[in-house]
Protein backbone atom coordinates (compact mmCIF):
# COMPACT_ATOMS: atom_id res chain seq x y z
CA UNK A 1 0.00 0.00 0.00
CA UNK A 2 1.47 3.36 -1.01
CA UNK A 3 1.22 6.58 0.95
CA UNK A 4 -1.67 7.93 -1.13
CA UNK A 5 -3.76 4.79 -0.61
CA UNK A 6 -2.98 4.83 3.10
CA UNK A 7 -4.07 8.46 3.24
CA UNK A 8 -7.35 7.71 1.43
CA UNK A 9 -8.17 4.77 3.68
CA UNK A 10 -7.35 6.78 6.79
CA UNK A 11 -9.56 9.71 5.68
CA UNK A 12 -12.43 7.36 4.82
CA UNK A 13 -12.21 5.61 8.18
CA UNK A 14 -12.19 8.94 9.99
CA UNK A 15 -15.23 10.15 8.07
CA UNK A 16 -17.17 6.97 8.83
CA UNK A 17 -16.00 6.11 12.35
CA UNK A 18 -15.00 9.37 14.05
CA UNK A 19 -17.56 8.66 16.79
CA UNK A 20 -15.66 5.55 17.88
CA UNK A 21 -12.50 7.61 18.47
CA UNK A 22 -14.53 10.33 20.21
CA UNK A 23 -16.10 7.78 22.59
CA UNK A 24 -12.79 6.07 23.33
CA UNK A 25 -10.87 9.29 23.97
CA UNK A 26 -13.59 10.53 26.33
CA UNK A 27 -13.95 7.16 28.04
CA UNK A 28 -10.25 6.81 28.79
CA UNK A 29 -9.08 10.39 29.34
CA UNK A 30 -10.39 13.68 30.61
CA UNK A 31 -9.68 17.37 30.09
CA UNK A 32 -6.61 18.22 28.05
CA UNK A 33 -5.53 14.58 28.04
CA UNK A 34 -8.41 13.75 25.70
CA UNK A 35 -6.58 15.51 22.88
CA UNK A 36 -3.39 13.63 23.60
CA UNK A 37 -5.23 10.34 23.52
CA UNK A 38 -7.06 11.38 20.33
CA UNK A 39 -3.68 12.06 18.71
CA UNK A 40 -2.44 8.64 19.85
CA UNK A 41 -5.56 7.02 18.42
CA UNK A 42 -5.08 8.76 15.08
CA UNK A 43 -1.44 7.68 14.98
CA UNK A 44 -2.32 4.07 15.82
CA UNK A 45 -4.99 4.03 13.13
CA UNK A 46 -2.62 5.54 10.56
CA UNK A 47 0.05 2.94 11.34
CA UNK A 48 -2.42 0.06 11.30
CA UNK A 49 -4.16 1.08 8.06
CA UNK A 50 -1.77 -0.82 5.70
CA UNK A 51 -2.29 -4.02 7.75
CA UNK A 52 -6.03 -4.06 7.11
CA UNK A 53 -6.67 -6.95 4.73
CA UNK A 54 -10.47 -6.83 4.61
CA UNK A 55 -10.90 -10.08 6.56
CA UNK A 56 -13.01 -8.25 9.13
CA UNK A 57 -15.28 -5.21 8.90
CA UNK A 58 -13.37 -1.89 9.01
CA UNK A 59 -15.37 -0.99 12.13
CA UNK A 60 -14.19 -4.15 13.97
CA UNK A 61 -10.62 -3.38 12.97
CA UNK A 62 -10.95 0.23 14.14
CA UNK A 63 -12.46 -0.84 17.47
CA UNK A 64 -9.56 -3.24 17.99
CA UNK A 65 -6.88 -0.67 17.21
CA UNK A 66 -8.56 2.12 19.19
CA UNK A 67 -9.29 0.10 22.35
CA UNK A 68 -5.88 -1.51 22.26
CA UNK A 69 -4.23 1.91 22.06
CA UNK A 70 -6.39 3.40 24.80
CA UNK A 71 -5.72 0.48 27.18
CA UNK A 72 -1.97 0.95 26.91
CA UNK A 73 -1.95 4.73 26.60
CA UNK A 74 0.01 6.56 29.25
CA UNK A 75 -0.83 10.09 30.23
CA UNK A 76 2.13 12.35 29.40
CA UNK A 77 3.29 14.41 32.37
CA UNK A 78 5.30 16.89 30.36
CA UNK A 79 4.01 20.12 28.80
CA UNK A 80 0.74 19.89 30.68
CA UNK A 81 0.33 23.68 30.72
CA UNK A 82 0.75 23.86 26.90
CA UNK A 83 -1.75 21.06 26.38
CA UNK A 84 -4.22 22.69 28.73
CA UNK A 85 -4.00 25.97 26.84
CA UNK A 86 -4.45 24.18 23.52
CA UNK A 87 -7.42 22.29 24.91
CA UNK A 88 -9.09 25.42 26.26
CA UNK A 89 -8.56 27.15 22.92
CA UNK A 90 -10.06 24.22 21.02
CA UNK A 91 -12.98 24.01 23.38
CA UNK A 92 -13.66 27.73 23.14
CA UNK A 93 -13.80 27.48 19.35
CA UNK A 94 -16.49 24.82 19.47
CA UNK A 95 -19.92 26.03 18.61
CA UNK A 96 -22.30 24.81 21.28
CA UNK A 97 -25.93 24.07 20.71
CA UNK A 98 -27.92 26.42 22.93
CA UNK A 99 -30.93 24.11 23.30
CA UNK A 100 -31.73 23.21 26.93
CA UNK A 101 -32.26 19.55 26.13
CA UNK A 102 -28.90 19.37 24.36
CA UNK A 103 -27.24 21.01 27.34
CA UNK A 104 -28.79 18.44 29.66
CA UNK A 105 -27.65 15.61 27.39
CA UNK A 106 -24.12 17.00 27.36
CA UNK A 107 -24.12 17.19 31.12
CA UNK A 108 -25.44 13.65 31.46
CA UNK A 109 -22.80 12.43 29.02
CA UNK A 110 -20.01 14.15 30.97
CA UNK A 111 -21.23 12.41 34.13
CA UNK A 112 -21.56 9.09 32.33
CA UNK A 113 -18.02 9.37 30.98
CA UNK A 114 -16.81 10.23 34.49
CA UNK A 115 -18.43 7.03 35.78
CA UNK A 116 -16.90 4.99 32.94
CA UNK A 117 -13.44 6.40 33.64
CA UNK A 118 -13.66 5.13 37.22
CA UNK A 119 -13.94 1.51 36.04
CA UNK A 120 -10.92 -0.79 35.66
CA UNK A 121 -9.47 -0.46 32.10
CA UNK A 122 -10.81 -3.70 30.60
CA UNK A 123 -14.31 -3.17 32.01
CA UNK A 124 -14.15 0.41 30.75
CA UNK A 125 -13.44 -0.90 27.27
CA UNK A 126 -16.26 -3.45 27.48
CA UNK A 127 -18.91 -0.94 28.53
CA UNK A 128 -17.86 1.45 25.75
CA UNK A 129 -18.14 -1.34 23.21
CA UNK A 130 -21.50 -2.35 24.61
CA UNK A 131 -22.84 1.20 24.43
CA UNK A 132 -21.62 1.38 20.84
CA UNK A 133 -23.84 -1.62 20.11
CA UNK A 134 -21.39 -4.48 19.68
CA UNK A 135 -22.67 -7.98 20.38
CA UNK A 136 -21.24 -10.19 23.16
CA UNK A 137 -19.68 -12.42 20.51
CA UNK A 138 -17.94 -9.45 18.85
CA UNK A 139 -16.65 -8.17 22.18
CA UNK A 140 -15.45 -11.64 23.16
CA UNK A 141 -13.53 -11.98 19.91
CA UNK A 142 -12.12 -8.49 20.16
CA UNK A 143 -10.80 -8.99 23.68
CA UNK A 144 -9.95 -12.68 23.51
CA UNK A 145 -12.47 -13.49 26.28
CA UNK A 146 -15.27 -16.05 26.43
CA UNK A 147 -18.83 -14.85 25.74
CA UNK A 148 -19.84 -16.03 29.22
CA UNK A 149 -17.17 -13.88 30.75
CA UNK A 150 -18.23 -10.84 28.71
CA UNK A 151 -21.87 -11.42 29.67
CA UNK A 152 -21.09 -11.76 33.38
CA UNK A 153 -18.95 -8.66 33.40
CA UNK A 154 -21.51 -6.58 31.50
CA UNK A 155 -24.39 -7.57 33.77
CA UNK A 156 -22.44 -6.27 36.76
CA UNK A 157 -21.24 -3.20 34.89
CA UNK A 158 -24.68 -2.16 33.66
CA UNK A 159 -26.09 -2.44 37.18
CA UNK A 160 -23.22 -0.41 38.56
CA UNK A 161 -23.48 2.33 35.93
CA UNK A 162 -27.28 2.50 36.16
CA UNK A 163 -27.14 2.85 39.94
CA UNK A 164 -24.50 5.56 39.74
CA UNK A 165 -26.41 7.44 37.05
CA UNK A 166 -29.64 7.16 39.04
CA UNK A 167 -27.99 9.10 41.85
CA UNK A 168 -26.64 11.57 39.35
CA UNK A 169 -29.97 12.12 37.59
CA UNK A 170 -31.57 12.92 40.94
CA UNK A 171 -28.91 15.54 41.48
CA UNK A 172 -29.48 16.97 37.99
CA UNK A 173 -33.19 17.51 38.60
Amino acid sequence: MNNHEQHLRFERWLADHAAVLHHVSNGFAEGADRHDLMQELLLALWRAAPAFRGGALPSTFIYRVAHNTALTWKRAQRNYRNRLERFEQLDAELERDGDARAARERETLELLYAQIRQLPPINRSLILLHLDGLSYAEMAELHGLSETNVGARLTRLKQKISAAMKDVSHELR
Partner: protein, 212 residues
Amino acid sequence: MNFDDIRQTWRSAQNQAPAAHLEKEKMKFFTDLRRRRRGAVIFMIWILAVLTTLTVSLGRFVLSPDPAKPPMNLANEWAVIVLLALPWICLGIFYQKYRRHCAAHADYNRSISGSLRGLLDENRLARDRQKWAAILSGVMLLLIPVIVYQLRAAGKAGDEVLVPAFVMLPLLMGAIYLGMAWHRRWVLAPRQRELEGLLAAYNEDDEASATR
Protein backbone atom coordinates in the same frame (compact mmCIF):
# COMPACT_ATOMS: atom_id res chain seq x y z
CA MET B 1 -31.93 6.75 34.99
CA ASN B 2 -32.10 3.17 33.68
CA PHE B 3 -29.73 1.65 31.15
CA ASP B 4 -32.07 2.24 28.21
CA ASP B 5 -32.08 5.97 28.97
CA ILE B 6 -28.30 5.86 29.18
CA ARG B 7 -28.14 4.13 25.82
CA GLN B 8 -30.45 6.73 24.29
CA THR B 9 -28.30 9.60 25.58
CA TRP B 10 -25.23 7.78 24.28
CA ARG B 11 -26.70 7.75 20.76
CA SER B 12 -27.62 11.43 20.85
CA ALA B 13 -26.00 14.00 18.56
CA GLN B 14 -24.18 15.43 21.58
CA ASN B 15 -22.03 12.29 21.73
CA GLN B 16 -20.63 12.70 18.21
CA ALA B 17 -17.22 14.18 17.42
CA PRO B 18 -17.84 17.80 16.30
CA ALA B 19 -16.65 18.14 12.68
CA ALA B 20 -14.61 21.30 13.31
CA HIS B 21 -12.94 19.70 16.29
CA LEU B 22 -12.04 16.57 14.34
CA GLU B 23 -10.63 18.66 11.50
CA LYS B 24 -8.31 20.45 13.92
CA GLU B 25 -7.19 17.17 15.48
CA LYS B 26 -6.50 15.81 12.00
CA MET B 27 -4.46 18.83 10.99
CA LYS B 28 -2.37 18.60 14.13
CA PHE B 29 -1.90 14.88 13.56
CA PHE B 30 -0.53 15.34 10.02
CA THR B 31 1.84 18.10 11.18
CA ASP B 32 3.15 15.86 13.97
CA LEU B 33 3.41 12.89 11.61
CA ARG B 34 5.69 14.84 9.26
CA ARG B 35 7.81 15.94 12.24
CA ARG B 36 8.08 12.37 13.57
CA ARG B 37 9.15 11.02 10.19
CA ARG B 38 11.80 13.70 9.78
CA GLY B 39 13.08 13.00 13.31
CA ALA B 40 13.30 9.24 12.73
CA VAL B 41 15.12 9.66 9.42
CA ILE B 42 17.61 12.15 10.90
CA PHE B 43 18.29 9.81 13.85
CA MET B 44 18.94 6.80 11.59
CA ILE B 45 21.15 8.83 9.23
CA TRP B 46 23.11 10.16 12.19
CA ILE B 47 23.77 6.68 13.67
CA LEU B 48 24.72 5.21 10.29
CA ALA B 49 26.91 8.22 9.43
CA VAL B 50 28.89 7.94 12.67
CA LEU B 51 29.41 4.18 12.30
CA THR B 52 30.23 4.42 8.58
CA THR B 53 32.70 7.31 9.05
CA LEU B 54 34.55 5.40 11.77
CA THR B 55 34.62 2.17 9.76
CA VAL B 56 35.68 3.84 6.50
CA SER B 57 38.50 5.75 8.20
CA LEU B 58 39.75 2.54 9.78
CA GLY B 59 39.40 0.70 6.47
CA ARG B 60 41.49 3.35 4.71
CA PHE B 61 44.02 3.19 7.53
CA VAL B 62 44.32 -0.60 7.14
CA LEU B 63 44.13 -0.84 3.33
CA SER B 64 46.17 2.22 2.29
CA PRO B 65 48.26 3.27 5.26
CA ASP B 66 50.00 6.65 5.51
CA PRO B 67 53.61 6.12 4.28
CA ALA B 68 54.88 8.47 7.00
CA LYS B 69 53.55 6.18 9.71
CA PRO B 70 54.33 2.52 10.34
CA PRO B 71 51.81 0.23 8.55
CA MET B 72 49.09 -1.39 10.61
CA ASN B 73 49.97 -4.84 11.80
CA LEU B 74 46.72 -6.70 12.44
CA ALA B 75 48.44 -9.36 14.54
CA ASN B 76 49.53 -6.69 17.02
CA GLU B 77 46.71 -4.14 16.63
CA TRP B 78 43.61 -6.31 16.38
CA ALA B 79 41.86 -4.70 19.34
CA VAL B 80 40.91 -1.57 17.32
CA ILE B 81 39.20 -3.74 14.72
CA VAL B 82 37.25 -5.57 17.45
CA LEU B 83 36.25 -2.23 18.99
CA LEU B 84 34.84 -0.97 15.69
CA ALA B 85 33.18 -4.27 14.81
CA LEU B 86 31.26 -4.42 18.10
CA PRO B 87 28.68 -1.67 17.37
CA TRP B 88 27.94 -3.24 13.94
CA ILE B 89 27.49 -6.66 15.52
CA CYS B 90 25.20 -5.12 18.11
CA LEU B 91 23.24 -3.25 15.42
CA GLY B 92 22.84 -6.54 13.53
CA ILE B 93 21.61 -8.34 16.67
CA PHE B 94 19.08 -5.55 17.41
CA TYR B 95 17.80 -5.62 13.85
CA GLN B 96 17.47 -9.42 13.83
CA LYS B 97 15.60 -9.41 17.16
CA TYR B 98 13.35 -6.61 15.93
CA ARG B 99 12.52 -8.55 12.73
CA ARG B 100 11.77 -11.68 14.77
CA HIS B 101 9.52 -9.64 17.06
CA CYS B 102 7.68 -8.06 14.10
CA ALA B 103 7.17 -11.46 12.51
CA ALA B 104 5.75 -12.82 15.76
CA HIS B 105 3.45 -9.89 16.46
CA ALA B 106 2.52 -8.38 13.10
CA ASP B 107 -1.06 -9.58 13.16
CA TYR B 108 -3.44 -6.67 13.79
CA ASN B 109 -6.39 -9.03 13.54
CA ARG B 110 -5.78 -10.86 16.77
CA SER B 111 -7.45 -10.04 20.05
CA ILE B 112 -6.59 -7.14 22.34
CA SER B 113 -5.27 -9.53 25.00
CA GLY B 114 -3.04 -11.05 22.29
CA SER B 115 -1.76 -7.57 21.43
CA LEU B 116 -1.04 -6.89 25.09
CA ARG B 117 1.06 -10.05 25.20
CA GLY B 118 2.86 -8.70 22.12
CA LEU B 119 3.55 -5.41 23.89
CA LEU B 120 4.87 -7.28 26.90
CA ASP B 121 7.18 -9.14 24.56
CA GLU B 122 8.27 -5.81 23.09
CA ASN B 123 9.05 -4.59 26.58
CA ARG B 124 11.12 -7.73 27.20
CA LEU B 125 12.91 -7.03 23.93
CA ALA B 126 13.75 -3.49 25.03
CA ARG B 127 15.17 -4.81 28.31
CA ASP B 128 17.10 -7.39 26.32
CA ARG B 129 18.52 -4.62 24.10
CA GLN B 130 19.67 -2.79 27.19
CA LYS B 131 21.40 -5.93 28.40
CA TRP B 132 23.23 -6.22 25.09
CA ALA B 133 24.19 -2.54 25.14
CA ALA B 134 25.52 -2.96 28.69
CA ILE B 135 27.55 -6.02 27.66
CA LEU B 136 28.87 -4.12 24.63
CA SER B 137 29.93 -1.16 26.78
CA GLY B 138 31.62 -3.53 29.25
CA VAL B 139 33.56 -5.27 26.49
CA MET B 140 34.57 -1.88 25.06
CA LEU B 141 35.87 -0.80 28.45
CA LEU B 142 37.87 -4.01 28.75
CA LEU B 143 39.27 -3.51 25.26
CA ILE B 144 40.51 0.02 25.90
CA PRO B 145 43.62 -0.94 27.96
CA VAL B 146 44.51 -3.52 25.26
CA ILE B 147 44.13 -0.92 22.49
CA VAL B 148 46.21 1.67 24.35
CA TYR B 149 48.87 -0.92 25.04
CA GLN B 150 48.96 -2.08 21.40
CA LEU B 151 49.04 1.47 19.96
CA ARG B 152 51.77 2.56 22.34
CA ALA B 153 53.79 -0.59 21.60
CA ALA B 154 53.45 0.13 17.84
CA GLY B 155 54.58 3.71 18.43
CA LYS B 156 51.30 5.19 17.18
CA ALA B 157 50.19 6.73 20.44
CA GLY B 158 51.82 8.40 23.41
CA ASP B 159 50.75 9.64 26.81
CA GLU B 160 48.14 11.95 25.25
CA VAL B 161 45.70 9.02 24.92
CA LEU B 162 45.78 8.12 28.61
CA VAL B 163 43.30 10.73 29.85
CA PRO B 164 40.72 10.18 27.06
CA ALA B 165 41.07 6.39 27.36
CA PHE B 166 41.08 6.00 31.13
CA VAL B 167 39.14 9.03 32.36
CA MET B 168 36.85 10.45 29.69
CA LEU B 169 35.68 7.21 28.12
CA PRO B 170 34.87 5.50 31.47
CA LEU B 171 32.98 8.67 32.48
CA LEU B 172 31.01 8.59 29.24
CA MET B 173 30.27 4.90 29.70
CA GLY B 174 29.20 5.57 33.29
CA ALA B 175 26.77 8.25 32.08
CA ILE B 176 25.37 5.83 29.48
CA TYR B 177 24.95 3.14 32.17
CA LEU B 178 23.13 5.62 34.42
CA GLY B 179 20.86 6.65 31.54
CA MET B 180 20.02 3.02 30.82
CA ALA B 181 19.39 2.27 34.49
CA TRP B 182 17.08 5.31 34.74
CA HIS B 183 15.18 4.22 31.63
CA ARG B 184 14.82 0.69 32.98
CA ARG B 185 13.72 1.84 36.43
CA TRP B 186 11.27 4.60 35.40
CA VAL B 187 10.09 3.59 31.92
CA LEU B 188 10.48 -0.11 31.18
CA ALA B 189 9.75 -1.58 34.62
CA PRO B 190 6.50 0.42 35.21
CA ARG B 191 5.35 -0.41 31.68
CA GLN B 192 6.06 -4.10 32.31
CA ARG B 193 4.07 -3.99 35.57
CA GLU B 194 1.20 -2.16 33.86
CA LEU B 195 0.98 -4.69 31.01
CA GLU B 196 1.24 -7.65 33.40
CA GLY B 197 -1.53 -6.04 35.48
CA LEU B 198 -3.81 -5.71 32.44
CA LEU B 199 -3.18 -9.31 31.41
CA ALA B 200 -3.78 -10.47 34.98
CA ALA B 201 -7.14 -8.64 34.91
CA TYR B 202 -8.17 -10.80 31.94
CA ASN B 203 -7.09 -13.99 33.67
CA GLU B 204 -8.64 -13.15 37.04
CA ASP B 205 -12.10 -12.67 35.60
CA ASP B 206 -11.69 -15.70 33.36
CA GLU B 207 -10.99 -17.82 36.43
CA ALA B 208 -13.86 -16.19 38.32
CA SER B 209 -16.39 -16.89 35.58
CA ALA B 210 -15.08 -20.45 35.20
CA THR B 211 -15.68 -21.18 38.88
CA ARG B 212 -19.12 -19.52 38.85
